[in-house]
């Protein structure tokens, strides 16, 4: 990582940030060292910071990440305050989420909502994580266990009152959201139109809703010496059908070329599912996961459209965002392959 510092913490804002952190952590004094922007934040701004805390329960030196809302967030993401509450709920449930430290809703401090969490170490880049001669069965199983623990949290979990509860059906709620994100594209791209229609016709009926990560996939967790160290990027979290996270995790989009290892490019689905069943207290519903995998491709397509639009609108010119917009045909090919593979679902469960 370059030592490029951020415009967010400068000589004017630093004293405000330090004073706010001292109050939030019950310290007499906090000193912040800004170590520059961290990668992996297409939507949020992630800064590596080291806090020197004098006094109070957190006294000592802490390697942290300061995560702020970027200039132009996207519709799919929750606020930084909500994200902090989700992180707290996940951490308290025993999930390997980075430890949340403090959240600030006052834009007067840094100009945007932000929170501070402990910095985890490890490799995150998907193509590096999947690189392995042998299937990474233990890692796949551990990720399943983590997800199972997360899914024990739900609308009744303290601190999550701000998150919207799907009404009435998570699957159809999701389809409506995708349509809204796509805008006009949904009426001129027949592959997406077919995907949306298929999701409407085959939507599973409403059932139990739990706290879902909604971007739980290879590329969004850190691994060190083959061991999971942290699950990142909680900005899409919300209440939904628990099978949504399993379908997303197993989608081809996040296998980074290891298509033979269907659980995130790591191992077979069986290992991931077994870990999930160990901690979640529920069985994996294979048909529902297949539905949510179809939903995953349509959602990823909708997000790619939103990302491309952030560039083309002139709001946030970026080569990475522009190229994400151009990934649509690839995502659509994966969607068609998946629908072809599970095609019988339509006639069995279809309306009429």
């Amino acid at each position: 990582m370059g030592a490029q510092t951020s415009a967010m913490i400068d000589d004017t804002s630093r004293p405000r940030l330090e004073a706010w952190l001292a109050e939030a952590t019950g310290a007499t004094r906090v000193t912040v060292a800004d170590e520059g922007r961290l990668g992996g934040g297409a939507i949020s701004l992630n800064l590596a910071v080291t806090l020197d805390v004098d006094g109070g329960p957190q006294s000592g030196r802490h390697a942290c990440v300061l995560r702020a809302q970027s200039a132009a967030g996207i519709q799919a993401s929750i606020s930084k305050g909500q994200e902090f509450a989700v992180l707290r709920a996940a951490f308290d449930a025993g999930v390997a989420a980075p430890e949340p430290i403090a959240a600030c809703a006052d834009p007067a401090v840094l100009g945007a909502e932000f929170y501070v969490m402990r910095r985890a170490t490890g490799v995150g880049a998907g193509h590096k994580v999947v690189k392995s001669d042998q299937p990474q069965r233990d890692l796949a199983r551990e990720l399943g266990r983590q997800l199972g623990r997360l899914h024990r949290a739900g609308p009744d979990t303290p601190g999550l009152g701000d998150l919207p509860v799907p009404n009435p059906c998570p699957a159809l709620d999701a389809v409506h959201a995708y349509k809204a994100w796509m805008g006009g594209v949904a009426t001129c791209d027949p592959v997406l139109a077919w995907g949306l229609r298929w999701l409407e016709v085959n939507a599973p009926p409403p059932g139990e809703v739990v706290l879902c990560h909604r971007d739980f996939r290879t590329g969004n967790y850190l691994v060190k010496d083959g061991q999971l160290t942290a699950i990142l990027d909680w900005e899409f979290a919300g209440f939904s059908d628990p099978m949504e996270d399993l379908g997303w995790f197993c989608a081809r989009s996040w296998r980074f070329g290891r298509n033979d290892r269907e659980a995130g490019g790591l191992a077979d689905r069986e290992d991931f599912y077994a870990g999930y069943e160990e901690t979640s207290g529920r069985k994996v519903d294979h048909q529902s996961v297949a539905y949510w995998e179809a939903s995953a491709y349509v959602r990823w397509a909708a997000i790619a459209i939103l990302q491309g639009r952030r560039h083309t609108s002139g709001e946030e010119p970026s080569l990475e965002l522009a190229l994400t917009g151009r990934m649509l045909p690839e995502i659509e090919l994966d969607l068609l392959r998946h629908l072809k593979a599970i095609g019988t679902l339509t006639t069995e469960a279809g309306v009429g």
């Binding site: 009426t187 990934m327 090919l333």
Partner: protein, 134 residues
Amino acid sequence: MRTSPDARELLAISLKTFREELLPHIPPAQRYTALMIANALGIVEREMAGLDEAGHTMLGALALLYGEDADDSLSGDDLRERVHGLQHRLCIEIAAGDFDHGGQDTVGQDTLMECLEEIVHARLGISNPKALNP
């Protein structure tokens, strides 16, 4: 009037030079950005060369679905407008449920899937031909 070398030729040699002479020497921290530039220019190159061909493939796939002949004489904006019009019509029919059941008398889901696959393949030929290999 033709300028020589033309835009395509200039782009091709720029991309070749970038890939062969610059890319190997780019420091690791900037390599991802450099690869993105090469990727974007590759898309531009394929789009300049093959947009009409992709359009005709898509038109052929849509014409098959609607039992019409594809008009080979179309090109450029006229071609794209025709493809856009048919795609829009298809989207409306799909959303209305016209393809929910694979009927024997009407055009069914199998034909629709073939058409959609051809459309995606034509677009992938420009945006990422590598993804066409299974």
